[in-house]
């Protein structure tokens, strides 16, 4: 379960201020936060994932209160329990597709890279229809293929929460549908909670619930 209580967050320099009194997302639920650019959607995901820490209030993700964890605890929590999908994929161009999927296991020692993990990565690639491109560098993949690789990377550690930041923002309509469907389907298969932030209203039909971000965005100015 994800729960936010009396959250207040502000960046040290700037007028932006995010205030969320109470939000609860049940396990396995698929929720979309909708809001305009600069409203703090990405900041919210960072708070849920423990990348940022609130000024006050509590953030509980997958049953753990991340807002009270230390830096190292939050990193380990994130890599083990949170799968992140970014708008611009954020794949590493010098790694091939398989190594990109395995990345979380290479950058945090709390995850052990075993032959079983590699098999699981290959199985994920197969599930998204890219088993034949495992050795290919990611800059030789199409935009849609890259996002599928990013989804595989997020799913590999079998996270309890999948967080996607504008996952279809850089895709053409055909790829947008396909990636969104895949995201929902993979979250279902993994039994993970799916939290997405988006400003695209046409994709909201695929989610169990939509939360309008405008109600939390208190003040003027652009969010980072």
């Amino acid at each position: 379960m994800i729960r936010i209580e009396d959250l207040v967050f502000a960046y040290p320099h700037g007028p932006f201020r995010l205030s969320i009194p109470d939000v609860t997302i049940e396990d396995g639920e698929k929720v979309a936060f909708i809001g305009p650019s600069g409203s703090g959607k990405t900041t919210l995901l960072h708070l849920l994932a423990g990348i940022e820490v609130p000024g006050s209030g509590t953030v509980t993700t997958a049953g753990c209160e991340v807002s009270s964890m230390s830096d190292a605890e939050r990193r380990d929590f994130r890599v083990q329990h949170v799968g992140l999908v970014f708008q611009v994929f954020e794949l590493l161009s010098y790694l091939d597709m398989l190594d990109n999927i395995l990345l979380p296991y290479r950058i945090n020692s709390s995850l052990a890279l075993t032959p079983e993990v590699v098999d699981r990565a290959k199985a994920l690639a197969e599930r998204v229809g890219m088993a034949d491109k495992l050795g290919r560098y990611v800059d030789r993949l199409s935009q849609g293929e890259r996002q599928r690789v990013a989804i595989c990377r997020a799913l590999l550690p079998q996270p309890r929460v999948l967080m996607a930041d504008e996952p279809t923002g850089n895709l053409d309509p055909a790829n947008k549908d396909r990636v969104l469907e895949m995201l929902v389907q993979q979250a279902d298969e993994a039994g993970a909670t799916l939290v997405t932030v988006t400003h695209e209203h046409d994709v909201l039909g695929r989610f169990d619930r939509t939360i309008d971000f405008a109600t939390f965005h208190e003040t003027v100015g652009a969010a980072p």
């Binding site: 990348i51 994130r78 890599v79 161009s93 010098y94 790694l95 990345l103 979380p104 950058i107 945090n108």
Partner: protein
């Protein structure tokens, strides 16, 4: 750490060109001063050792350095020759043992050194394979010369003609190799040693041909005036000294005038050395006597001075290259900022990111240093020979 190395290796593999340039730069920065120092130190120490082991050299007046280079290191540049009478002059003083040297000809790239058997005792040269030269036309070769000419006992070595277009010049002489010397790690390793008479045959002072006194050669005689016989060009001149032809070889002229390029004088003691040097101080003296160690000291001082300048230049170049490389690394890290932010978001610590970058830099540095060490080792093995080529 294993994963950091893996990621670093992937990054470098993907950016081969950039990595290769960085590694090559590091290798050059480390190798240039290190290799230069190694080569110069080794060469100067070899030069000094050879000079120190040679007490006195006598030659025609001229450049003392050229006399030393020709007599100690068998440099290709010839010096004006002395005569055998000058060897006898030293012997007659009783102050030193004179060892004649004749260094004018080559067998391919290897110097042919005409000398006496005393030279081998003086330099403590030992025959490792075969035997010592004993008769006209025989030679013993240094260990490196044997390798370069691909010869051993029983094979033959031919002297190179000095000028193929000069009909009056020295003709090639085929010589039998009877022994290969043990390696001495000195210029003697590169030489082909013959006795003085064989050297003179190469020079054309001595020669062998068909016996024109035989009745069957009558048809080839143009003129006979007592002992003086003029033969036609059909008479065969030998280009090899075999046991059968050896007796026909003879020399024309006064042996006292036959050339030697230098005399290595081994004085009996310090007093004899001083007295012998005194004999060459006269104003009208045509010859010079030198102490090789003093002459080579000057050369070594010059080489060391040049090395200091070059090293200073290389160090400055190295500093500027290092600064450039630091800039390259800094720019590279800046370009990869997003990548690092992504890794941080996924769950990577700053320490892990530092270790990833540290591995890349470490591998580049280690590879550069390893190549520099390899190059320095190669320079240690072959550099002195190259520098000797340049100096001599």
């Amino acid at each position: 750490m294993k994963n950091a190395f893996y990621m670093a290796s992937r990054y470098m593999r993907r950016h081969k060109g950039k990595t290769a340039i960085l590694i090559a730069s590091i290798a050059m920065i480390v190798f240039l001063p290190l290799g230069l120092q190694t080569v110069v130190d080794q060469t100067t120490s070899e030069l000094e050792a050879r000079a120190r082991s040679t007490p006195l050299l006598v030659g025609r007046k001229g450049s003392p350095l050229e006399l030393a280079l020709s007599s100690l290191y068998f440099a290709a540049k010839p010096v004006e020759p002395l005569a055998m009478a000058d060897v006898d002059r030293i012997r007659d003083t009783g102050f030193a043992l004179p060892i004649p040297l004749h260094v004018r000809y080559r067998a391919r790239e290897q110097p042919i050194v005409g000398t006496s058997l005393e030279y081998f005792d003086f330099r403590a040269l030992r025959v490792a394979d075969g035997r010592q030269m004993a008769t006209l036309g025989e030679c013993v070769v240094g260990a490196s010369a044997a390798e370069a000419l691909e010869v051993g006992p029983g094979d033959a070595v031919t002297s190179s003609p000095t000028d193929v277009f000069n009909l009056a010049g020295a003709y090639p002489l085929k010589m039998r190799v009877v022994g290969v010397l043990a390696r001495s790690h000195s210029p003697d390793d590169d030489a082909v040693f013959v006795d003085m008479k064989t050297a003179w045959v190469i020079e054309g002072i001595g020669h062998g041909h068909d016996d024109v006194s035989k009745p069957e050669m009558a048809g080839q005689l143009l003129k006979r005036d007592g002992n003086k016989i003029t033969a036609s060009a059909q008479v065969r001149e030998y280009q090899e000294i075999t046991a059968k032809q050896a007796e026909s070889f003879h020399f024309h002229g006064d042996p006292a005038t036959f050339p030697v390029t230098a005399v290595l004088a081994v004085p009996n003691d310090a007093k004899s050395q001083a007295l012998l040097r005194g004999r060459y101080l006269g104003k009208d003296e045509r010859d010079q006597i030198i102490e090789p160690v003093a002459v080579m000291d000057e050369l070594v001082t010059t080489v060391v001075k040049v090395r200091s300048y070059v090293t200073a230049a290389v160090v400055l170049l190295g500093i500027s290259t290092l600064l450039m490389m630091t800039l390259v690394f800094a720019l590279s890290i800046r370009l990869r900022r997003r990548e690092m932010e992504t890794m941080t978001k996924i769950g990577c610590s700053r320490g892990t990111i530092a270790s990833l970058l540290g591995c890349e830099i470490g591998v580049v540095l280690a590879a550069g240093v390893a190549i520099a060490i390899g190059l320095t080792t190669a320079a240690h093995a072959w550099g002195p020979a190259l520098l000797r080529e340049v100096l001599l």
